[in-house]
């Protein structure tokens, strides 16, 4: 049986690369892979192709890219207030319950805050991803990716700053890693919300039309 290229890499290629020749490009990579190129080569080609394709889309549509990032951040700022309020409400209720039920130990109490905050940040992120994709139907995937990267950079920068200025008592290593991992929740949700919208409206995306 002929070897198959890594499925997830192909999925990424089919979902993140724009342009009218995407299917031919995937076919070319498939053909070269069958000629004996390695899985690492395939992944390298996929990542490079996604970056090159997104860069080209952004540089060809700079105003649209600027608008997508600005609108995304506006929506993110607006939704952050209700998301924060809901997260705090959940955290307080969970901590009350932990105290009254006798489960008041480090990890549940420590996780209640970040997990509820991340949950609502993810919901808000998915909603904003949906919004950015809906408002930029011709280049939805690229614009959602761009906004998601800006959120990722912000979240990681903010988390790093908070960790560096907070003077906690010594904490377990895992507890320090947790905020970094959770910081990726919002950008990933932006991506998923946006991609889902872009896929369901695939036929209307002029920049992502398939060969046919």
């Amino acid at each position: 049986m002929a070897p198959r290229p890594p499925r997830f890499a192909t999925w990424l290629l089919e979902h993140f690369v724009s342009g009218p020749r995407r299917q031919s490009l995937v076919g070319d990579l498939h053909e070269k892979y069958l000629q004996g190129y390695s899985t690492a080569w395939y992944w390298r080609q996929v990542v490079t192709t996604i970056v090159v394709s997104a860069t080209r889309d952004i540089s060809a549509n700079r105003r649209l890219a600027l608008r997508a990032v600005a609108m995304g951040w506006l929506g993110y700022a607006v939704l952050s207030f209700p998301a924060h309020w809901l997260a705090e409400s959940v955290r307080l209720r969970v901590q009350d319950w932990l105290v009254t039920s006798g489960h008041y130990t480090f990890w549940p109490v420590f996780l209640a805050g970040p997990l509820s905050a991340t949950l609502f940040a993810c919901i808000a992120g998915a909603a904003i991803g949906w919004l950015v994709a809906r408002l930029h139907p011709t280049h939805a995937v690229t614009m959602v990716c761009l906004f998601s990267v800006s959120v990722l950079l912000f979240e990681l920068g903010f988390t790093g700053l908070m960790l560096s200025i907070q003077t906690h008592a010594p904490m377990p290593q895992a507890a320090l890693m947790l905020p970094v991992v959770l910081a990726m929740g919002a950008p990933v949700s932006v991506l998923l919300g946006g991609l889902w919208t872009a896929r369901t409206a695939k036929d209307s995306l002029s920049g992502i039309s398939a060969d046919s």
């Binding site: 020749r21 031919s24 490009l25 995937v26 053909e31 192709t49 996604i50 090159v52 060969d211």
Partner: protein, 110 residues
Amino acid sequence: MSREFLGGFELLVLLALMRLGDEAYGVPISQAIEESSGREVALGSVYVTLDRLEEKGFVSSTLGEPTAVRGGRAKTYFRITAKGLREVRQAQRTLVALWRGVPQLHGGAA
């Protein structure tokens, strides 16, 4: 009106197209460039360049039939246009003229 010069990679792609003739699609184009340059070429970069060259009118494309060896996906064949050929000749003249005036490139002493 000012004209844009062909980029280095654009020129490589056009030359590969001319060498390959009717059999020019992504795989042989990238292989031709890799063999000449000795460097790995990203197929994505080849396609982005071909898109740009087609927008400029230097290249035309046609869609082939899907084949099983490509996971059921069709090839896109590319061909250089008359305009593209003129542009390559112009680039050749420019490069050769500049080459002649560079003493460091004569005699292979560099």
